[in-house]
């Protein structure tokens, strides 16, 4: 049976068909739906872990114990889990072990566009790169077998367009993959210097064997059309090239992007007057091709930035320029906090107080967008807390009295708690605001350890943020409602004034949760509106200013009532129907 599946769902299907026993991941666009799709299969144990490092270690443990296991993450998640990944390369795999990493060229939803292929080379772990959903399933299945056969973890590399495109997939029955025996094996499983030295030898031997495999790997394919131009591509750029160049060129499509196949590439290259390497982000394949003494055209005709496209490839390789209507000069439409978003109250207050805001990653990063423009910095998950500690240490007490960190509930558990421990331990006096909206919002509403539910929606223990902060030594911990603007402002002022660390838990659920039931909508009484524009400072997409008065678009407003609290003249009123 053929089914239309998202690339991510096809990876999950591949894991299911390969008899995978466990999947542990932390969400991150564009990888999130892989793990969500695994919940369709009852016989796979699946979980959201608190962060990628934990997730990878859970999968590694499962593999050592003999079960096939997978962990999925976005490219920056691979940074967080890099520590266990580099060492499990030495340990290898008992049950097949697959890490599926999704890159985001073009940064549709990311803070950088790093190229994960460097990790494969650096950690000496083979990497497969599918180009559509059907390959996502096939490559994932093959990755488990490859992992066991070569005693190595295996990377699957996706990118936004592969992860988030649906195409047809032939569904098969799952394989039997019984648990393999677990045996105590200190030289293989205990990575201390004496053992690791032995394992490193094996890793280098393994890479040689994998290079030999790459020469004949069924995923590296040659397609001849009798052309004088040869193109080497992988993943997305293969399908773009295929569409742009059709049968005007010959192709070497690489499904295995690490290790690369020297002989295969040399043999292919020998047939052409002109050889192209077409790859997004860094010139990884191109550098290899040149290193084995083959001249090729590549990055100098393209770019290190963002995504490629059909027209770009047509222009570079064939010199054909596409005629299109010029881009109109119109306002752009950046993402914004939703109507009724709990974070809006927090940022309204912080902007009003004029404090420096050490920010983090989540929906609340949008607090940096006009008109709120409240956030000062965003680095990576967790950095809001630790970076503020650094700021306070160099700039001193006065600065710290006008400095807050803002961090979401999921992000706090991911890596904010360690920063808070640093503040307490090293005698900081920072004010940290945990934006507890009862969900992992940005990535599309996943449960997390603070929500009281597992990925399958089952009830579970809930991390109590208040107790947690107290337990690490923060004595001033309080829970506030960010929609109670007056109360919230007073709380922030008090905690800023305190000479010790404090945590404010800004508690109000995400407006998109089913449990949140705002009703009716608000309207502006034009006679009472004195055009002060206070409500415009909220940056609510439902409020705009027309003919000198505020107006609320009823079809967008969800009736959250925040603007009612902002209007000094009582001009905004709630209407129930």
């Amino acid at each position: 049976m053929k089914k239309l599946l998202l690339g991510n769902a096809a990876v999950a299907r591949g894991a299911y068909e390969a008899g995978c026993k466990l999947v542990s991941s932390y969400p991150g666009t564009p990888s999130t739906e892989i793990t969500e799709s695994v919940t369709e299969y009852d016989n796979i144990y699946v979980e959201w872990a608190p962060n990628e490092k934990v997730a990878a270690e859970v999968a590694i443990g499962a593999s050592i114990a003999g079960g096939r296991a997978m962990s999925c993450m976005k490219h920056v998640g691979l940074n967080v889990m890099a520590d266990p990944v580099f060492t499990v390369s030495y340990i290898g795999a008992n049950g097949g072990l697959v890490f599926c990493v999704a890159d985001d060229p073009g940064m549709h939803s990311s803070q950088n566009e790093q190229d994960s292929r460097h990790y494969a080379e650096a950690a000496k772990i083979p990497m497969l790169e599918p180009s559509d959903s059907s390959e996502c399933k096939e490559f994932t299945k093959a990755a488990f077998a490859l992992s066991e056969e070569y005693d190595t973890p295996v990377f699957i590399r996706l990118s936004t367009r592969v992860s988030h495109s649906q195409s047809l997939v032939e569904l098969c029955d799952p394989e039997e993959a019984p648990l393999k025996d677990y045996e105590k094996n200190i030289p293989k499983h205990v990575m201390m210097p004496a053992m690791a030295k032995g394992r490193h030898v094996i890793v280098e031997q393994r890479t040689e064997k994998l290079k030999a495999l790459a020469e004949n790997c069924a995923f590296n394919t040659v397609e001849k059309n009798g052309s004088k131009i040869g193109v080497i591509a992988a993943g997305t750029t293969y399908v773009y090239a295929k569409e742009a160049l059709g049968d005007k060129v010959d192709y070497l499509k690489l499904g295995m992007v690490f290790p690369l196949s020297e002989k295969l590439i040399k043999d292919f290259a020998a047939d052409y007057d002109e050889l192209w390497v077409i790859e997004e982000l860094d010139p990884v394949i191109e550098t290899f091709v040149k290193s084995i003494g083959i001249a090729c055209k590549g990055k100098e005709n393209f770019t290190l930035l963002g995504e490629y496209s059909q027209n770009m490839i047509k222009k570079a390789v064939l010199g054909i320029e596409t005629e299109a209507i010029a881009d109109p000069q119109i306002p752009n439409r950046p993402p914004v906090l939703c109507v009724g978003c709990p974070h809006r109250g927090t940022f309204y207050v912080l902007k009003k107080l004029g404090v420096t805001v050490s920010g983090d990653i989540g929906c609340y990063t949008l607090g940096a967008v006009a008109p709120l423009q409240s956030v000062d910095t965003t680095i990576c998950m967790g950095a809001s807390v630790s970076a503020a500690h650094g700021m306070a240490k160099v700039r001193g007490e006065e600065f710290n009295k006008k400095l807050v960190s803002v961090i979401g509930d999921s992000t706090f558990i991911h890596s904010g708690i360690t920063g808070l421990i640093d503040i307490v331990y090293n005698k900081g006096a920072n004010t940290v605001i945990i934006l507890d909206n009862s969900i992992t919002g940005m990535t599309g509403h996943q449960e997390n350890p603070t929500t009281g539910k597992t990925i399958r929606g089952e009830a579970t223990k809930q991390v109590d943020l208040e107790l947690l902060c107290k337990a690490v030594g923060v004595e001033r911990v309080r829970i506030e409602d960010p929609f109670d603007l007056k109360g919230f402002e007073a709380a922030v002022k008090e905690e800023l004034a305190a000479d010790e660390p404090s945590v404010i838990i800004a508690q109000r659920p995400c407006a998109l949760l089913k449990s949140v039931k705002y009703t009716g909508h608000c309207a502006v009484d034009a006679d009472k509106c004195r055009s002060c524009k206070m409500c415009m400072k909220l940056g609510c997409p439902a409020i705009s200013f027309k003919n000198g008065k505020a107006v609320i678009d009823k079809s967008q407003c969800n009736g959250c009532g925040l603007c009612v609290n902002v209007c000094p003249f009582g001009a905004i009123v709630k209407e129930e129907k």
């Binding site: 059909q310 940005m442 705009s544």
Partner: protein, 190 residues
């Protein structure tokens, strides 16, 4: 590959473009075509510009639609229609929900919402414009906007009416079915 039919669906995050592309994708596979549907998830779904590509034919290679490659653009909002215009093929069709949603730069006063969008579109494309919200209300729910628009789109494809109805029956929950079928019909017979 050049013969694939390319449909682009554009709108504002949260407007329901994803459901529209899912219905479209499913109709197409039932017709036995190869199909690729490229969606956006994540950041831009928070009220930003969203673009979905649907391509079908005997064999589809790339999931994305580049400039001057779309046969039809289905726009859920006026400004987004204009933004997508360079992606339309010469002589392509633009179906536009004649509705304005102010983006944040307009709300803050940093920019102005352009006037005369429909006229600009008409100079460059074969335009069908409609007030889908009003029509959806007529069908029984303002939530059926996307299905009204799917109805208009359906008329511009060579896929038979019944195939669409079948797919809607399969995709939409029972209790909203009647409204959605009505919405589809209104769009189709526009």
């Amino acid at each position: 590959m050049a013969d694939s039919k390319n449909i682009m669906i554009v709108g504002v995050g949260g407007q329901g473009t994803l459901l529209a592309s899912r219905i479209l994708g499913n109709v197409i596979i039932d017709q036995g075509f190869d199909v690729k549907v490229s969606e956006v998830h994540g950041m831009s779904q928070r009220g930003g510009s969203v673009v979905t590509y649907v391509k079908y034919g005997e064999k589809v290679a790339s999931p994305i639609i580049d400039k001057a490659e779309a046969d039809i653009i289905l726009a859920f909002e006026r400004l987004e229609a204009l933004r997508a215009l360079p992606f339309l093929k010469k002589g392509g069709k633009m179906i536009v929900n004649d509705r304005a949603m102010n983006p944040m730069p307009v709300i803050t006063g940093a920019a102005e919402y352009p006037e005369g969008i429909i006229e600009t579109l008409k100079q460059n494309a074969d335009v069908v414009s409609l007030d889908a919200l009003e029509l959806a209300e007529k069908a029984g729910s303002i939530k059926a906007v996307n299905v009204v628009l799917i109805g208009v789109l359906a008329k511009s494809t060579d896929i038979p009416y019944d195939a669409w109805v079948e797919t809607i029956k399969k995709t939409v929950p029972e209790k909203f079915l009647e409204i959605n079928l009505k919405a589809f019909e209104i769009g189709y017979n526009l």
